[in-house]
């Protein structure tokens, strides 16, 4: 086998389950890439782009929120709050989300509402960025 087992899970779906040749993502410390035979590894993830090269050479691009990656005996599990492949990103919704969340933040929201708005704003911005990356 030329790759490793990769699973990307969120509380609402199994976003990816298959064999990959490589996967790269944004950790809280910077970008990291996992190839076959990687040592056991655990790291928290930040909002960012996820790049997967599948067993048959297909390159897929996705957008992650906060979570963590765990490499165990060569198998990679990525747990995230949300994940979307670039083809699933709704650009109009993300643009609208940025406007809405900016208004909430500027409107003096506090506590959970502010925290939520900031997190959503960050995710929407990253969705647009990832969508742009794919051209």
């Amino acid at each position: 086998m030329a790759g490793f087992d990769l699973r990307i899970l969120t509380p609402t779906k199994v976003a990816f389950a298959g064999v990959a040749k490589s996967v790269s993502f944004m950790t809280t410390e910077g970008e990291a890439c996992i190839l076959r035979g990687h040592e056991d590894y655990v790291a928290p993830l930040a909002v960012g782009a996820v790049r997967i090269e599948t067993e048959d050479g297909e390159r897929r691009l996705g957008c992650s929120s906060y979570g963590f990656v765990n490499v165990l005996r060569g198998n990679v599990s990525i747990f995230l709050i949300t994940f979307e492949f670039v083809e699933e990103i709704d650009i109009a919704r993300a643009t609208e989300g940025i406007e809405k969340m900016s208004a909430i933040i500027a409107g003096g929201a506090t506590g959970d509402e502010l925290m939520d708005a900031k997190a959503r704003h960050e995710r929407c911005k990253m969705r647009l960025k990832v969508a742009k990356l794919s051209g």
């Binding site: 509380p11 809280t28 590894y41 655990v42 790291a43 906060y66 165990l72 599990s77 747990f79 709050i81």
Partner: protein, 280 residues
């Protein structure tokens, strides 16, 4: 006879209610089952991964992995119930399991759902916080705020351990109360054949656990709430089905009694007429 008729009518209207409730909970169950099937892999795998990670920590006194230094000697039990009754033994089984596990003086509870809130209040348990009306429309984001607040209390040392009590959805016909330890992550010795290979943390272990535990905790609570809601709907659907069945049996029995009484009345009347005629 009119008394029996009244009882039959009353039971017939009960059947209408239980049948309607069965239909509603069956529809809710279908929706809840889809949600539960989506969260199941995440719920199971994140727990397994955390158990494995915790079993490989070789640093002493790591926050979230090892016990607090200043022990408060209290454990927090987050008990996920429902907002409505009439679900058979759904709530009772869960509460029995919790009450049978804990020492009341050494426990702080966080009931979720109106029935759980009422039970723990009535029985004099210490309550950290309570939430109701959230299970059906729960989202991972909402749960994240709840767990963040609980973790702040854990960090201050309000309690040393966190447990999640919920009802597992085994099948439509079977639901089982469960208690899972959430924190600290020292789940005892690693499983046989478990990994003791070296693990590379990025950044340092303390910072990694501080960052991933909130995600893990939110994922576990979200999974527990979704699974409990599916189990509750299944339990209610089953309870309403058997209530409808029982009511139908009673109606059959009462109809038989009614017919016998009617027959007796007719026979008596005929005898009276015949005896009256003979006497005349």
């Amino acid at each position: 006879m009119s008394d029996i008729k009244r009882r039959i009518k009353s039971i017939e209207s009960t059947i209408k209610i239980t049948s309607a409730m069965k239909l509603v909970s069956a529809a809710k169950l279908r929706k809840a089952k889809i949600k539960f099937d989506s969260v199941k892999p995440f719920f199971a795998e994140i727990y397994e991964n955390m158990v494995d990670l915790a079993s490989r920590v070789d640093v002493q006194q790591l926050r979230y992995v090892h016990e607090h230094k200043k022990a408060s000697n209290k454990a927090l039990y987050i008990v996920v119930g429902g907002d409505r009754g009439l679900a058979g033994g759904f709530h009772l089984n869960l509460f029995k399991k919790v009450v049978g596990t804990v020492d009341k003086k050494k426990v702080v509870t966080f009931p979720i759902g109106k029935i759980a809130i009422s039970f723990f209040r009535k029985n004099g348990f210490e309550i950290l916080s309570e939430l109701s009306g959230i299970s059906e429309e729960i989202t991972p984001e909402k749960v994240y705020h709840i767990t963040a607040r609980v973790l702040r209390n854990y960090d201050y040392g309000a309690f040393d351990e966190i447990y999640l009590a919920y009802t597992g959805f085994m099948s439509t016909l079977s639901q089982e109360p469960m208690i899972k330890k959430i924190l600290p992550l020292d789940f005892g010795s690693p499983k046989q054949g478990g990994s003791k290979r070296s693990l590379n943390y990025d950044p340092a272990p303390g910072a990694v656990f501080a960052a991933i535990v909130p995600q893990y905790f939110a994922g576990m609570l979200y999974g527990g709430i979704v699974e409990s809601f599916a189990a509750e709907q299944a339990a209610r659907s089953n309870a309403m089905e058997s209530a409808t069945g029982n009511a139908e049996e009673i109606i059959t029995d009462l109809t038989l009694k009614y017919n016998r009484a009617r027959q007796f009345a007719v026979t008596t009347e005929i005898i009276e007429i015949v005896s009256g005629g003979a006497a005349g």
